[in-house]
């Protein structure tokens, strides 16, 4: 007896999609092998039984509902765009640019440096007031030095890196340093979702 049917030919055989040359040896085997014949007969019956599961007719208003959704598309997206925060609108605009990665990083660094400079400038000690004549000597108890605010770290004006201790600046730095990467992640997600 010839060898049993290979699994990858059985369904094409049942579908009638084998050529005469491919079909002939299978038919010869089936004539001689009761087990394979029974298997093929049952598979044919299964395919027939599956046909008993009926389909549904589309609702008469399907097209109208779809058309309504399609017509909403453009204004929908325009309004969504304008509802976005500035940073996200910037991100959407930048997606279209092929040079976004390089420029985004350059911009991010420019902003971080500007903010660092601003932080340094804003926290620099004010110019010393003009000298005032000394009051008469009075014994004064020494006052405790005020505790610096945890939000605004004390700056001595000479350490520019100290600005990075400012949580607000750090948050912006993290956000901006990930700016370019976020676009690529978003783009990958979108490509994956499109299909």
């Amino acid at each position: 007896m010839s060898e049993h049917l290979k699994e990858e030919v059985i369904i094409p055989f049942l579908d009638g999609r084998l050529s005469a040359a491919e079909r002939a040896p299978l038919q010869a085997h089936l004539a001689a092998c009761a087990a394979c014949r029974a298997q093929v007969d049952e598979l044919r019956a299964v395919v027939g039984v599956l046909g008993e599961w009926p389909a549904v007719a589309p609702s008469p208003d399907f097209d109208a509902a779809l058309r309504a959704r399609v017509s909403e598309e453009t204004p929908h997206f325009v309004s969504l765009y304008h509802d976005l925060p500035l940073i996200e609108r910037m991100a959407l605009s930048w997606r279209a640019a092929s040079w976004r990665s390089i420029t985004a990083h350059a911009l991010a660094w420019a902003i971080v440096i500007s903010m660092g400079f601003w932080g340094w400038w804003a926290n620099s000690p004010a110019p010393a007031p003009p000298p005032v004549p000394a009051p008469p000597a009075v014994a004064v108890a020494p006052q405790p030095r005020p505790t610096p605010s945890p939000v605004q770290p004390e700056m001595n004006g000479s350490d520019e890196l100290a600005v990075l201790d400012n949580p607000e600046v750090l948050d912006n730095f993290k956000l901006l340093s990930e700016f370019g990467i976020l676009f690529e992640v978003e783009e990958d997600k979108e490509e994956g979702k499109t299909l």
């Binding site: 094409p12 049952e42 598979l43 039984v49 008993e52 399907f62 097209d63 598309e73």
Partner: protein
């Protein structure tokens, strides 16, 4: 010349890309039923199947500007439909619908069954309903890829190359996948074989 004149699906998409909105209507009219049938067999109820079908066609519409006829339109369409359905099933949106739909075919019976002729008895109707429920459960219990392969092969009657492309597997892998799926169904549906409803 309008899009109603016989055109390939790919030509219609190119016309839609060029701004001919009527081309979209022609594509929807052609594929509305096959897409809904496919999604219905995945989610088991008409209303959510139609919601998903609308999402599928919306995605086609949104992609019109970037459309390139690199694959058959129907392959592309069913790949979108597959992804939309699987996303919905995985994120739980359709779980409730599927649970609700078990043995609840009454709402989707074809007209011929809703208006049984004089020979049809209540018992026959019950047997048919039980058979349909058994078939649906058996298909539903298949692994995801096998289930999709069977739906596209048996109910959409796609050719192997197209199904393989939708499922992103080779044609020979598809033939083996189909064989294993039908073998599983053969075991599960054995009580129904050879017994007509």
């Amino acid at each position: 010349m309008g899009p109603a004149v016989a055109k390939s699906d790919e030509e219609l998409m190119l016309r839609l890309r060029a701004g001919e909105e009527e081309a979209f209507d022609v594509l929807v009219a052609k594929y509305r039923a096959p897409v809904i049938h496919f999604l219905y067999r995945l989610v088991h109820r008409r209303e959510p199947a139609e919601d998903l079908a609308q999402e599928v066609f919306l995605r086609v519409y949104r992609a019109r500007k970037s459309y390139r006829p690199t694959a058959k339109f129907s392959t592309w369409l069913f790949r979108i439909a597959t992804n939309v359905a699987l996303n919905a099933l995985r994120d739980g949106r359709m779980r409730h619908e599927r649970e609700m739909s078990i043995d609840a075919d009454a709402g989707v019976m074809p007209l011929a069954e809703r208006l049984p002729d004089a020979m049809a008895t209540a018992e026959q109707a019950l047997v048919e309903r039980e058979r349909r429920a058994a078939i649906r459960r058996a298909v539903d219990a298949l692994p995801e890829k096998q289930r999709l392969a069977v739906l596209l092969h048996k109910y959409q009657e796609m050719d192997y190359a197209e199904i393989a492309e939708v499922l992103e597997i080779s044609e020979s892998a598809l033939k083996s996948l189909l064989f294993r799926a039908y073998e599983t169904l053969r075991a599960r549906l054995k009580p129904l074989l050879g017994v007509r409803a």
